[in-house]
């Protein structure tokens, strides 16, 4: 009885899970997939590259949410990160900017984005702005002022070609099969993402700041009564989330080499996927990065499908990650959200 009961209660989730598995099996058998052509080293390295901005954004977002602030504006911060990096690269190095200019621009753009993030944090924490609404506003502002800045600088919402980041090649090691091209001839920003992921995990679970962040989101009063300022912890986490999303945008730009501001801009929903990635990863930085890799991989997989010649309607296949997000959320809908997310906290009066 209990099994049936449980099954009945979870039938939506079970159903969705079954559908996914079924679809996967059907796809593989029906299409007789040439697996070795699909999962190439190039595919893996492109997946890593696609995952990096999502992972960075996700890690930032999960810190903010762990601390009790749902930063739904990460998409906007990504746009700012991307457009600022492009603008600064161009201002520093012009159209013939080199690697040095790019790196300087990335750093400088993080500084700029951190200023935005501080403003956002003040609004949300000090002035108790509605987190959802303020976050959406950040997105709107990014969508407006990002391309606006591009138009000001370049007379077009798209930047001219700037410079994309060079791979970091370790002589010798890069010749190794599989591992070589993945790790020793890879974008330094991908490697940075790996470091950030591990670092974020260590900080969250093994330092006092991590403890405080967790407590601030679960039971801010407990932290307050332990003598730690909840506001300060939240400020730090929110600013960090903004900066990480900005870095995500910068990484996106550094890989693409130019800014695109048409439509939903070059960020194109990756911030939202970042949010889903950390929900999927259950607020664990490593889990979030793994989820980001999954989403990045799905994106690249549909390209592999095309290259291999599996003719699926491209525009529909492109929707797969979004569908996956919905299914994942429905199945993992019970991901435990920190208890006090969304509630402003005041220690006195």
């Amino acid at each position: 009885m209990t099994v049936l009961d449980r099954a009945a209660r979870n039938r939506v989730r079970l159903g969705a899970g079954a559908v996914i598995v079924l679809l996967g099996v059907i796809l593989i058998t029906w299409l007789d997939l040439p697996l070795s052509d699909l999962f190439t080293v190039g595919f893996l390295s492109r997946s890593l590259q696609a995952a990096a901005p999502i992972a960075l954004t996700a890690i930032g977002g999960l810190y903010a949410e762990k601390s009790g602030v749902f930063n739904i504006g990460v998409e906007g911060f990504m746009i700012f990160g991307a457009v600022n990096t492009a603008a600064l690269t161009w201002l520093i190095g012009g159209e013939t900017a080199g690697q040095g200019a790019l790196w300087m621009a990335i750093l400088a753009s993080l500084v700029v984005v951190s200023v935005y993030a501080v403003l956002f944090a003040v609004l949300v924490i000090r002035y108790k702005a509605d987190q959802i609404v303020a976050g959406l506003a950040v997105w709107f502002i990014g969508l407006g002022f990002g391309p606006f800045m591009a138009v000001l600088l370049w007379g077009s919402r798209n930047s001219p070609g700037l410079v994309s980041v060079d791979n970091l090649t370790v002589p010798g090691l890069s010749e190794l099969p599989v591992v070589g091209p993945l790790l020793f001839d890879a974008s330094p920003l991908v490697l940075l993402t790996v470091l950030v992921t591990v670092g974020a995990w260590v900080v969250l679970y093994h330092t006092r700041y991590g403890y405080w962040i967790q407590a601030a989101g679960e039971n801010p009063e407990a932290l307050d009564t332990a003598g730690v300022s909840v506001a300060r912890v939240r400020y730090a986490a929110v600013v960090f989330s903004g900066v990480m999303a900005g870095l995500g945008g910068a990484v996106l730009l550094a890989h693409a080499g130019s800014f695109t501001g048409t439509g939903d801009t070059m960020v194109n929903g990756r911030g939202w996927i970042g949010i889903v990635a950390y929900l999927f990863g259950n607020y664990n930085p490593i889990g979030a990065a793994a989820a980001a890799l999954l989403f990045g991989g799905l994106d690249m997989l549909q390209i592999q499908f095309q290259t291999v010649g599996i003719d699926l309607p491209n525009r529909l296949v492109n929707l797969f990650p979004y569908l996956a997000v919905i299914v994942v959320l429905t199945i993992w809908g019970s991901t435990r959200v920190p208890s006090s997310v969304g509630e402003p906290y005041e220690s006195e009066e």
Binding site: D37, A256, T262
Partner: protein
């Protein structure tokens, strides 16, 4: 919200319009200006017409198709423009109404046509130039070649194609390109990928990388602004690419070390012709459907700047032979100028 943008350098705030010169408005395609292809070419033709005639240009960037109707009528209603140039067929539906509503307004529509007396439709033979691009790619993939930043692998004749949106117009590029390559080498394998839009350079680069990774030597793109990504991928992978619409080795000199050539159409010549006609009060000479093809020498395949004179002789010979074959009717290029159905 409207995403319109105006880039006109001129002070068009109070464009009184009553000067001696001709005012020309150009409304972008949804991809917007600065695409280094389509929109820029059209604009470039107008700019060059300025040299001979007194022309004021109002650049209107509008990326929402739903706004074309009101943007067009707004421009027409002002009565200030001797000619309104509309880039891309996304304008067709709106123009169908507006051309009739504003019978005194001269319109130029690029890539499509509307049957009205005041409309000049200009269509270029995309399929022919793509066929020539295919000939270039098909020839080079069997040649041993390592100039510039790339290298070919002649053992496996394999090339790639990156399209913007998987639709009839771009399908014509793809099919003709494949046919051109197969005309050179029946065994050639073509990897095909579509981005889903004309702006996402990142995805374009990923698709091209994937194709290079699978063994393609040369990738041709028909993806407007997003095509940049293909060149980036070519540089990163040490392979070659073929540009589209304009001579992209000139438009994007950063990439001239990988751009073997470009399938070009002289849109600029078209807009220049139209601007001139209007300036000379002779719009009647160009109204109707102008399909411009090899016959008018309006499309071509040109060799990239860095490779001029460096490519194997077979390239020039094959392209020449193919052109002749098309003109003579010995070669039938699949599809038509505006698409495959």
């Amino acid at each position: 919200m409207s995403l319109a943008g105006c880039l006109g350098g001129d002070d068009s705030d109070d464009s009184g319009g009553s000067g001696d010169g001709t005012n020309i408005a150009i409304v972008s395609s949804p991809a917007g200006f600065d695409d280094n292809a389509f929109n820029d070419l059209a604009l470039g033709g107008l700019e060059s017409a300025k040299e001979d005639h007194e022309i004021e240009i109002n650049q209107v960037e509008e990326t929402q198709q739903a706004q074309y109707q009101s943007t067009q009528s707004e421009l027409a209603q002002s009565g200030e423009y001797g000619l309104i140039v509309l880039v891309s067929y996304n304008h067709t539906e709106a123009l169908t109404q507006n051309a009739a509503d504003y019978p005194d307004q001269n319109w130029m529509l690029i890539n499509d046509h509307v049957e009205e007396d005041n409309v000049a439709g200009y269509i270029w033979a995309n399929h022919q130039m793509s066929y020539l691009g295919g000939v270039l790619a098909g020839t080079m993939t069997t040649e041993e070649f390592s100039e510039g930043s790339g290298v070919t692998a002649p053992s496996s004749p394999q090339i790639g194609f990156v399209g913007g949106v998987d639709e009839s117009l771009i399908n014509a590029y793809e099919r003709s390109y494949v046919a051109g390559a197969e005309w050179v080498n029946g065994d050639v394998e073509v990897d095909v990928g579509y981005i889903g839009n004309y702006t996402d350079t990142d995805t374009a680069a990923d698709i091209a990388s994937s194709q290079y990774g699978a063994g393609a030597d040369i990738v041709y793109h028909a993806a407007a602004a997003a095509g940049r990504g293909v060149f980036e991928a070519a540089q990163a992978e040490g392979r070659y690419a073929i540009g589209v619409d304009s001579d992209q080795s000139q438009a994007l000199p950063d990439f001239q070390d990988v751009i073997l050539g470009s399938a070009v159409k002289y849109i600029n010549e078209g807009t220049r012709e139209a601007a001139t006609a209007v300036a000379e009060d002779d719009f009647g000479s160009i109204t109707g459907n102008n399909t411009l093809s090899l016959e008018q020498e309006a499309v071509d395949c040109v060799i990239g700047q860095a490779f001029e004179g460096n490519l194997p002789d077979a390239v020039g010979q094959n392209i020449q032979e193919a052109k002749q074959g098309i003109l003579d009717g010995d070669i039938t290029v699949p599809c038509a100028a505006t698409g495959c159905n």
